[in-house]
Structures are given as C-alpha cells and as structure tokens.
C-alpha cells in the first residue's frame, strides 16, 4: 500500500504539463473553446498529428503496435494532463477503440487502423444507441446483411458524437435476427464515414455541444471491416464501454478549474472589503469540491492500478462511473455558487476568468449520468457484482 506516484511518474507528469503548455497556443485554445470541448477544427487536427509524431498517442499500447507499452497508470496520467490543458483529446479512439482493435481485430484491420490512430490521423465515432435502443442496447435494429464478401448495412444511430468530423464509425449492427438471445446476434463493423449511403445530421444539446444522428442507407462494406467474431460483438461493446467509463471521469480539467477558482477567490475583493474566500460558505463549498475531486482522483488511480494488475473489478468500474458523473454535477454547482451571477454570464469573463466555463460545464454535465451506460444500470451492476445481491430478471 503506497498511494503515491513514483519518481518516473512524477517526471512524466511534469514533462507532459510542459509539453501541453507549449502546444496550447492561444489560437488553438480559442478554437477548442469555440468547438466546446469536442475538437475537430484544423488547428486541433494539426496538434493531434504533432502529438502522434512526438509519440504521445497510445502510450499504454503494446510496443508491437507502436505504443510505448506503459501501464494504464501512465496512460491515465497522459489523459489527465492533456484534458487539463484544455485539449479535447479523442480518447475513445485512442484509449478504447484502438486497444480493443489491437486485441480482437484481424491483421488487416490492425495494419490499416492502428498506425493511423497512433499518428493522430484517424478518428472513430461510436455508433451504438438508436432511437429505440438506449439502455436496452441489445435491442438495436440496425442490420448488416451478408452479400457475397460484403455486408449491406441499413439503419439509424443516435448520439453519434464526433461523427461530423470522424473518419469511421465503430458500428454495432444485427447480423443474426434469429439468435436465441438478442445480444448474441450483434457484430461490430468499422464503417467509413465517406461511404456512399452514409449521412449525418446535427443534434444540438443543452450544453451547446453538437452531437449527431447518423443514417446508414444500403452501405456496402467488405467483410474485412468486421471486427472480432461474427455475432460476437456484444463482448466488444461491453469491454469498450468499461474502458470508456474510466475515461469519462477524467478529473484533470476539474482539478485545474478548482485551482483557478481558489486563486481567484483569494485574490478577489468584494465591494464590502472582504475577499471572496473570507466568506465561510465559500470555504465550505471549496472544501466540498476538494473532497469530491480527491475521491475521483483516487478512484481512477486505483482502477488504473487494478488494470495494471489485471484485476479490474466490474463493480468498481461501475462505481467509478456513477460517482464521477454525479460528483461532476455537484462540483460545477458548488463552484458556480462561488462565482455567483458571473456563473450565468456566457459572453463575459470580466468578474471571474473561469465563470463562463462554469456556466457551460454546468449545462453539459447532465450528459454523463446517462451517457456511457445509465447510472441505474451501473447501480444494478454494483449491487449484483459488488455485493452479490440477487437482481430482478429483465
């Protein structure tokens, strides 16, 4: 038991912090803020490729596939730092799709996709949810029908984030409508977003972030673009979601926001003459935020450690997702209270430089309690897998 980073990890953190502070030019920062934490702009693309050239993408990947073979902990330090710097890193592509492809993809897929992901040239969107398949994902209706060496794909996907600038969609489709259990008839494909029959329409959300509905109209792709075993896609989906859950509760940006707000509260004087932080309720709010983030940090470090040891617990992965998503909401609320009315102003940071960010973060935070697997389902998993409680059949 030693809950501290070793010297190399501290060094890595420092190196990354310096690297990103140099990388995040004012112009790139502005573009990232304009794109509301989604990325996709030209400077964003250039920076991603630069990161790839500098060997920062896929640090946790096997050396065989061009990674550095570092542990999930170093990998997490990387994601923490890049997010903290304010760069919307496409972690679903690099941390979740990539490693699964390396594990389950054919040689062709590995050779086609992995080098491009590592060099920051290829972005993948996730296509799971449908208008009538959300939490009950296995009831999805998008079909892939075999025709010779090809598959013909038809259907519609919801919440296909990044699809408007991504190169491929990691698509779950039904390949066996007659399977005895619905999750046993699903396969995974990598569908090029440039394929004839692919189209995309924006969905604008509460937080301002754009996501998409994507349409698949008689798209023909070769069987070579199928990932993993036929009708064995469910396993890949759940394993991808487990990895995604961990990435979702990255506390890097949050810890930086906390630091900034504390500094602001110490140095800002109210008209009454006292500083913002002299108000006892402000201290209490900041203390609560500090305690929330500390747990988030420990939870993800523990999970990264558990992944390194090869014993990531399913209940703990779900606990991390529930805790993190709900803590974020509370954190933005408490920090929003500290900046007060400024936390409602979108077009000016005159009072507090972080206020408009809090204004937006509060609006965007509601996504994570249901995105990546509804928290109710996660709680079901915790009581069953973590406490061995029986659960009702569905």
């Amino acid at each position: 038991m030693k809950i501290q980073f070793n010297t190399e990890q501290v060094k890595l953190k420092k190196e990354l912090r310096e690297y990103f502070s140099e990388m995040m030019t004012p112009a790139l920062k502005e573009e990232c803020e304009r794109d509301l934490g989604e990325g996709g702009g030209p400077l964003w693309r250039t920076a991603l490729k630069q990161m790839g050239r500098d060997g920062w993408i896929g640090m946790g990947w096997d050396e065989k596939w061009g990674g550095k073979g570092l542990t999930p902990l170093e990998q997490f330090i990387f994601v923490e730092e890049v997010m903290r710097a304010g760069y919307p890193f496409p972690f679903l592509t690099t941390e979740s799709v990539g490693p699964i492809l390396a594990e389950h993809g054919s040689d062709f897929l590995k050779k086609t996709f992995l080098p491009k992901i590592l060099s920051g040239e290829l972005i993948v969107a996730i296509g799971y949810s449908e208008p009538s398949a959300g939490t009950d994902l296995a009831s999805l209706k998008t079909t892939a029908i075999r025709e010779g060496d090809d598959w013909i794909i038809n259907g519609q996907k919801m919440w296909t984030s990044l699809a408007h600038f991504a190169d491929y969609t990691w698509l779950a489709a039904r390949t066996n409508p007659d399977a005895d259990k619905k999750h046993k008839g699903i396969s995974l494909f990598l569908v090029p977003n440039s394929a004839p029959g692919w189209s995309c329409a924006p969905v604008h959300t509460l937080g301002g972030i754009r996501t998409n509905v994507t349409y698949y109209d008689n798209i023909r792709i070769s069987d070579a673009y199928r990932v993993g075993g036929l009708n064995e896609g469910w396993k890949l989906i759940t394993s991808q979601l487990n990895r995604e859950r961990l990435s979702l509760i990255n506390f890097g940006p949050c810890s930086d926001l906390f630091n900034q707000i504390v500094k602001w509260a110490i140095t800002t004087v109210l008209p009454s003459g006292e500083s913002v932080i002299e108000q006892s309720w402000v201290q209490a709010n900041l203390a609560k935020v500090r305690a929330y983030i500390e747990c988030m940090k420990l939870i993800v470090y523990k999970q990264s450690w558990a992944m390194t040891e090869g014993n990531l617990d399913m209940a703990d992965a779900s606990a991390a997702k529930v805790y993190g998503s709900e803590a974020f909401i509370e954190i933005y609320r408490l920090l929003g209270e500290v900046v007060g009315y400024a936390g409602l102003i979108r077009n000016s940071d005159e009072i507090c430089p972080q206020a408009s960010k809090i204004e937006r973060l509060y609006r965007t935070a509601s996504i994570i309690t249901f995105g990546g697997g509804a928290n109710e389902i996660q709680r079901d998993i915790i009581s069953a897998a973590g406490l061995w409680m029986p659960r009702a059949s569905r």
Binding site: M1, K2, I3, Q4, F5, N6, Q9, L73, S255, D256, F258, N259, V262, K263, A265, I266, I277, E278, S280, V282, Q283, A284, L286, A287, K288, R290, A291, I293, E294, C295, K297, L298, I299, Y301, K302, S304, W305, A306, E309, A315, D316, A319, V322, Y323, E376, Q378, R379, D380, I382, S383, A384, G386, L387, W388, M389, P390, R391, A392
Partner: protein, 376 residues
C-alpha cells in the same frame, strides 16, 4: 502507486480478522450493553498481545514487532469490522508518542510492559468544546523550579479508568507540554462518561497535580507530539470506520438477499439495490481516502489535507450508512437481538468524535483559504 497489501500486511489482516472472528461474538458484546461492565475484553487483549499485535509499531528493542503505521491502520480496520471491545488505538498511539518523543529512560520504563500488554496506556488531549488539541485552553501548567503543577480539564479520554498511565497535554501560554500522569495521582479525578458506543470514556479533572520532570515526555516539541499523535488518531478513527461501515453494508446485503416480500428477495427491488449500491460507492470513497491518509502518515509525510478529507467521508458515510442499513433491514435492524444496532452506535461515534463533517469541512476550507490543498 500501489493499492494492494504486501505479504506482511495481508498476514496481519488475516491473523487479526480470524482472532476477532473467533473471539468477538454478539453474545460477548451483549455483556457490555448499557454499561453492564466496562467494554474491555481482557482475554482478547491477552490474545492480541500474544500474537504480537499490540506492539505493531514498536521497535524490537522494546519488544515490539517493528512494523509501520500502515499495518496498525489495517489492524484498526479489523477492529472496526468486528467492533472488538479493545483499546487498541489509544494504547498504541500513546506508545508510539513515547517512542518517538520520550527520553530513553521513559521509553525503557514504559514501552516493554506496554508492548506486552502488561500495562495499559491512553492519551488525554481533547478538551470540552474544543476539537483542536494543538491549542489547550482548559488545561495549564506552571513550573515551580522543580515540579510541574497542572490544573484543568480533559474530555473524551478513552479507557482512563483502566489505564496505568495517561499521556496528557497542558499549556503555559504558547508552550504545550506533554506529561505522563498516573490516574491515581493526588489531584486527579476521573469522571466516567456513558457515551453512545459503550466505550469507557471519561472526563479528567486536574486540581494542582504535581508532576516531576522525569514524567515529561516532550517539552519544547509538545505541540509537535500532540499533532503527530492527533493526526494518527484521526487516521485510525477513519480506518476503524472503514471496517464498521463495510461490515454493516455486508450485513445489509445479506439480509436483503434472504428476506422475501411479495414472494421475492427484497434485494431484487431496484430501490433497495440502488441504496446498497450507493453505500458501496460511499464506502469505496471512505476506504480510498482513509488508506491514502494512512499511507502518507506511514511515510512520515504531511497529510493535513488528506486527513481532513478522510474524516469528512468518515463522518458523512457513517451517518448515511447507519440510516441506509437500518432502513433496508426494515425493523430487524433496531431489534437488539440482531447485531446491526451496535454497529450503528459505532458509526455515530466515529462520525462525531474529534468533530463532525461540517467542522472538518470548515477546517479544510481554512486550509484552502490559506493557499494550501491546490492540486499539483
């Protein structure tokens, strides 16, 4: 970064868990209910001494097993899991304070006997209406050129009536000195208090108690000693709470899995399962923050921020879990023939002792306001 236990830590955990499992039964615990007798199982205490578990952090020179603070912290988790009636935290911390700050003469006199369980130690640092033992307002001393004369009042002293020696702090202006006093010394009166948990606690009144220089543990670094012990006391309370909460949660999970209503186990109702899932998350937060604080103290590193955070969780989770566990037991939990109720008393004890959630939130807020606690 290592969240796992090493070989020695696993052995200590397994050994203590099995000793407590065999020796702490609901029937035995029942004999202390309502203060029928002092909540101190001396047979169990001897067994712990024989197993070398009383002297975890004590050097082998004094007969100790010479492990670190983390091992003691893990031991306290097991005390919490079993709510064993033993004064382990107060005894061990007092020994550790003497070992670290006392002169060799005092160490030789007290530590070997304390390590073997022949004598019992405790500490009196807390005072009425004051959660900060680094500033003693209610107990003061004067030095008459030869002896120290102490007067004042200490509160929440565990096992004061059972102890052979009491470590006690007293102030003279800015100076804080730590003495060793004997409970039977002239001018010392001990008033037993009946607290929620049934643990023997007392208020100590000191009326011009004369103490020789040889009984001084720390003069110049008295406040350092008090802080050093108090940090570890906070940590052990949190670790104890980890054990208590975990046991109460598991009891609730088992009960709801077996209890049927409407023809199905009540655990299958999502509202029940989710309440338990929230407890699971709560306890994970408490465990991680408590382990972190203990691990820092084990390395003799500063842990001010981390301790406050752990104690906030120990208090909040204790409160929430107590009511969740009772609620899902639906009546069985309040029945004194079922073991849960005693756990709820300890959940409350650990929540409130040395300050509740709001107090520690404010303490943490003060640290943040002074510019500490930023994320690196």
């Amino acid at each position: 970064m290592d969240f796992g236990l090493n070989q020695i830590q696993r052995e200590i955990r397994d050994l203590s868990r099995s000793i407590f499992k065999d020796n702490v039964t609901p029937e035995k615990l029942a004999s202390y209910d309502e203060y029928a007798m002092p909540r101190f199982d001396e047979d169990l205490w001897s067994k712990l001494a024989e197993a070398g578990l009383l002297s975890t952090c004590i050097d082998s020179d004094y007969g100790g097993s010479q492990f670190g603070f983390m091992e003691l912290a893990l031991l306290l988790e097991e005390v919490g899991r079993s709510i064993a009636p033993v004064p382990l935290a107060s005894h061990c911390l007092s020994m550790m304070g003497i070992q670290k700050f006392g002169e060799e003469k005092i160490r030789k006199k007290i530590l070997p006997e304390a390590a073997s369980g022949k004598i019992l130690l405790t500490s009196a640092f807390l005072e009425p209406m004051n959660n900060n033992p680094m500033s003693a307002h209610s107990t003061s001393y004067v030095f008459d050129g030869k002896n120290y004369i102490i007067s004042g009042r200490k509160q929440a002293v565990p096992f004061a009536n059972q102890a052979d020696y009491i470590l006690l702090s007293a102030a003279n202006g800015e100076d804080l000195v730590v003495f060793i006093i004997e409970p039977g010394a002239a001018g010392v009166s001990i008033k037993p208090l009946q607290v929620t948990s049934f643990e023997p606690q007392a208020e100590i009144c000191l009326n011009e108690v004369t103490v020789e220089s040889s009984q001084v543990v720390a003069v110049r670094d008295g406040s350092t000693l008090v802080k050093w012990i108090f940090d570890r006391m906070l940590s052990l309370i949190c670790m104890h709470q980890v054990g208590v909460t975990d046991a109460a949660m598991k009891m609730s999970a088992s009960y709801t899995s077996e209890r049927t209503q409407f023809g199905v186990p009540v655990a299958t109702f999502q509202a029940v399962g989710h309440r338990m899932a929230d407890s699971y998350i709560d306890i994970e937060c408490l465990r991680l923050t408590s382990y972190q604080a203990a691990s820092l103290l084990d390395l003799e590193e500063e842990a001010d921020i981390e301790l406050q955070i752990a104690k906030i969780w120990a208090a909040d989770v204790g409160h929430r879990l107590s009511y969740s566990a009772q609620h899902v037991h639906g009546g069985a939990g309040i029945d004194r023939d079922y073991p849960l109720w005693r756990y709820c008393l300890w959940l409350r004890h650990n929540e409130m002792i040395v300050g509740g959630s709001s107090y520690h939130t404010q303490q943490l807020g003060n640290l943040i306001a002074s510019g500490r606690g930023l994320f690196s």
